[in-house]
């Protein structure tokens, strides 16, 4: 198509922002939106962590008084002693905040928003207005959820999975299941809308706004990960949204999608009939399992991106990593039933779900082996970012191998709903993804703020976190093997009493590891204002974000339109001036594929 002249201003794109509100609050700039997501995730993760402290304390001192807790909820903690239902409320909020507002927001929405357009050489996202909307919608979802803390009944007690009919029948089933559960359902539905808008933006941007020369295969691995994640998230949240809608209707409009007939809850015969609790489980896990990969894939991408920079050589094969991530994304839609092995689903379908679940091990192993194999013969630089990237590999392996057990229905009969499961998903989707976020933060902070973080504090933070998380989550597996059931607010069963020393150990480890996160917070805030001024490319990296000033101007590349000549894996290049060649350098490289 012939274009006669370039128009003065491009629609969909925007001029330099003016005024405080346009610059920092209702900003269309993907970088500001990325930081807003990061800030939201940071608030959520510290709330979530505090909740886990309270829970861990309660588990070892079930009748202990917690100073100040009564101020938060007089009913939930009379005299500072946590009630069983308040434990479950905190547990539900911990899970929901962490899964949705931390693990989905931080590695994907926050870093993705900031760096995906830059890494492909674009000025902004394809639809900046949608982008702004997706953040503000997510923020509303967060506020709606957190409101549940301040209503008389307290937050819901049905867990982050909100299994019906417990979540559907209302206050008869217990405290927190009135407005608390309504707020939960609405919050998640709103969150889905925000995520759908965000994912749409990521996909369109990646497909259409790449700079000249930026072929798909020349995109950095984290861009690939964000792109694949956006595809997964688009389809997953599109299913959770109707599921939440139906749940809210069951609760507020008297329909019976998930509530069967003849239930007697709190001595009251419920007026519903014909619904199917398993329907909720199917819909939820059809979203829920891909959600695991929404959390972990971006972390894999970020780690791959940082790893090649730290080891000063390309991965053995970037293509294999990309294809592995794609097949994980694809398989993630065929395995949701492995969460329901003992739920009374047809036993044949259990086997049908078991095989693809086991198959996911193959791409996961391939990726791990590629990361490990790439270390061979490398020249590893140890920064806080690279330590967290290496720590990620270790965590991913530890969390991954326990998946061997849970993928098999026969073993799941024994291990289902025990602390083994808790240990598994905390390591593989929680801690591993958070390690990816830490690595990304230490790596990109100079670009995002124009200042360096303290490496010394970063390393102290790493050692506490690395050793601490192993101390917390490894013993979870032992507890599970001994049959310790999860989601108990205290352990009153005879066979659980001998396990109390393990719980005490875990609680102490959790308190220390949690406290160490304040080192990170301090480093983050202190470096933002007092850190050393960052150069354009402090880590001698190759991708496009390191070709522009730190922090980048509002339109990223100024008037320049970057042209890309290489893939971002050109480290350890023979004959180059440094040991690396940047993506936009016209320099010729021998044997480039």
């Amino acid at each position: 198509m012939q274009e006669a002249s370039a128009p003065q201003a491009q629609q969909g794109h925007h001029g330099p922002p003016e005024g405080f509100i346009r610059k920092y609050v209702f900003s269309l700039d993907h970088k500001v939106i990325g930081k807003q997501y990061y800030g939201l995730a940071l608030v959520a993760v510290f709330i979530g962590m505090t909740l886990s402290w309270l829970m861990r304390y309660h588990l070892i001192y079930p009748n202990g008084k917690i100073f100040g807790l009564e101020l938060l909820s007089k009913v939930g903690a009379p005299g500072g002693v946590m009630t069983p239902e308040y434990y479950l409320s905190l547990m539900t909020m911990h899970g929901t905040l962490m899964v949705f507002f931390v693990l989905t927001n931080a590695p994907f929405a926050a870093f993705g928003n900031y760096f995906l357009p830059i890494q492909i050489g674009a000025e902004d996202m394809a639809f900046p207005r949608f982008n702004m909307m997706s953040f503000w919608v997510t923020l509303v979802a967060f506020l709606v959820l957190v409101t549940a803390f301040f209503i008389p009944d307290g937050p819901p007690i049905s867990g982050w999975t909100a299994y019906a009919p417990l979540s559907a029948v209302g206050t008869d089933a217990g405290p927190g299941l009135g407005w608390g559960q309504n707020l939960w359902g609405l919050s998640i539905a709103i969150f889905c809308v925000g995520s759908l808008l965000g994912s749409l933006n990521f996909i369109a941007t990646t497909l259409d706004l790449r700079a000249k020369g930026m072929t798909l295969m020349r995109m950095p691995l984290c861009t690939w990960a964000w792109f694949i994640t956006a595809c997964i998230s688009l389809l997953a949240f599109a299913v959770l949204l109707p599921a939440c809608l139906l749940l809210v209707l069951d609760r507020m409009a008297g329909t019976s999608f998930f509530i069967p007939a003849g239930l007697v809850v709190s001595d009251r015969l419920q007026a519903h009939a014909g619904g199917s609790p398993l329907l909720w489980q199917h819909l939820f896990w059809f979203f829920g399992h891909p959600e695991v990969y929404i959390a972990i894939l971006p972390a894999m991408g970020i780690v791959s991106h940082i790893l090649i920079n730290s080891i000063r050589r390309p991965l053995l094969s970037a293509k294999v990593i990309i294809y592995s991530m794609m097949s994980i994304g694809f398989l993630s839609y065929m395995v949701w039933g492995h969460h329901m092995f003992v739920s009374g689903m047809n036993p044949f379908s259990s086997l049908m779900f078991s095989f693809p679940t086991l198959t996911i091990t193959i791409p996961a192993t391939v990726m791990t082996l590629i990361w490990l194999g790439s270390l061979y013969g490398a020249r590893i630089r140890f920064t806080s970012a690279s330590l967290f990237a290496l720590g990620f590999i270790s965590m991913f392996v530890s969390g991954g191998v326990s998946g061997f057990f849970l993928a098999q229905p026969s073993i799941d009969i024994y291990l289902h709903a025990t602390y083994f499961v808790v240990g598994h998903f905390h390591m593989v989707m929680g801690v591993a993804a958070i390690f990816g976020v830490f690595a990304g933060t230490y790596f990109w902070f100079p670009k995002m703020t124009g200042r360096m973080m303290s490496e010394g504090l970063g390393k102290v933070h790493f050692w506490f976190t690395f050793i601490g998380t192993y101390c917390i989550f490894m013993p979870f597996h032992y507890l599970g093997l001994a049959g310790n059931v999860r989601r108990y607010s205290s352990f009153v069963d005879d066979f659980l009493l001998p396990l109390m020393p393990v719980h005490r150990f875990i609680t102490i480890a959790a308190l220390i590891t949690g406290a160490a996160q304040f080192i990170f917070l301090y480093n983050l805030i202190h470096s933002r204002f007092r850190g050393k001024v960052a150069p354009v490319n402090p880590w001698e990296a190759t991708s496009l974000e390191w070709t522009i000033p730190s922090p980048p101007p509002w339109n990223n590349f100024g008037d320049r339109h970057p042209v890309v000549y290489h893939d971002p894996h050109q480290y350890g290049v023979k004959g180059s001036l440094g040991d690396y060649v940047m993506q936009d350098s016209p320099e010729k490289i021998e044997n480039e594929s």
Partner: protein, 267 residues
């Protein structure tokens, strides 16, 4: 820094493996006829998972040790075999491993779920409600009375909603807070949820089955060892979830008959 990382990682990997190898915290001894298949499957998987875990962590430690802060300015080397070698190795090793686990695992699963209960198995109905289990035996007539949710009256201990006034079958039904069963006889447990989702879990019995409201399921098993074991709920069911339990009382046939007679007199 690299060497330190390698050492710490090695220690973590080895220390993590100790309680597993020593069975410090382990499954309680199995008391069922089908459990050994699950135990074997778990032990096999533990061997494979343990090997993968140690191999990967120690390899990571080794490479980090060897290639950290290399002083020479020589060119980077590549792993012999490259990516292709690794992918093929992963496909063959992990693929067969997973296939083997999947196929073998079927056997243990099938032993629980694909063989029907024998017709003369002892039928017991288990009902889960917030936050207790109750069990019902059909009594002398061998028939369960029908359930009427509107007749449930816990204050009068009518946990199941029986209607003895109008139905003869219901009058001799025996309701108990503990699950007493004779050893070495197959039990067919009929699973019924009163209110929300619950789960029936006896670690020693290697049985876990959800109670799904509106969906009556069943499991069958044979206990082999006389003793008293805890039945706990493993599906989040509300504020008393942690405290929802009952006892499984495995008795000799004579003791069981006596127990049943005594219970019948209490009804």
């Amino acid at each position: 820094m690299g060497k330190f990382f390698a050492v710490v990682l090695t220690i973590i990997a080895l220390v993590s493996a100790v309680p597993i190898v020593m069975h410090t915290w382990w499954m309680p001894p199995d008391i069922s006829t089908h459990g050994h298949a699950i135990d074997e499957q778990l032990t096999d998987t533990m061997a494979e998972a343990g090997f993968s875990f140690l191999a990967a962590q120690l390899l990571l430690a080794l490479f980090v040790w060897k290639f950290s802060e290399r002083k020479d300015s020589g060119p980077i080397k590549s792993l012999p075999g490259g990516a292709k070698g690794l992918v093929i190795a992963a496909l063959i090793l992990v693929g067969t491993e997973m296939l083997a686990l999947g196929v073998l695992g079927q056997k243990a699963w099938a032993s629980v779920y694909f063989t029907p209960a024998s017709p003369n198995a002892l039928q017991v109905q288990a009902q889960a409600g917030q936050f207790a289990f109750y069990f019902r035996y059909p009594g002398a007539d061998g028939k369960f009375g029908a359930l009427h949710p509107d007749k449930i009256d816990e204050g009068n201990q009518n946990y199941f909603g029986l209607d003895p006034a109008n139905e003869v079958e219901a009058r001799d039904d025996i309701v108990s807070g503990e699950l007493a069963i004779p050893a070495n006889r197959e039990v067919l447990l009929l699973i019924h949820a009163k209110d929300v989702g619950h789960s029936f879990y006896v670690p020693e019995l290697r049985i876990q089955q959800d109670f799904v409201p509106g969906l009556d399921l069943s499991v069958h098993f044979t206990a082999t060892k006389v003793g008293r074991y805890e039945i706990v709920c493993t599906q989040l069911c509300g504020l008393g979830h942690y405290n929802m339990k009952a006892y499984l009382n495995v008795m000799s046939q004579e003791d069981f008959d006596k127990w049943l007679k005594q219970k019948a007199s209490e009804q």
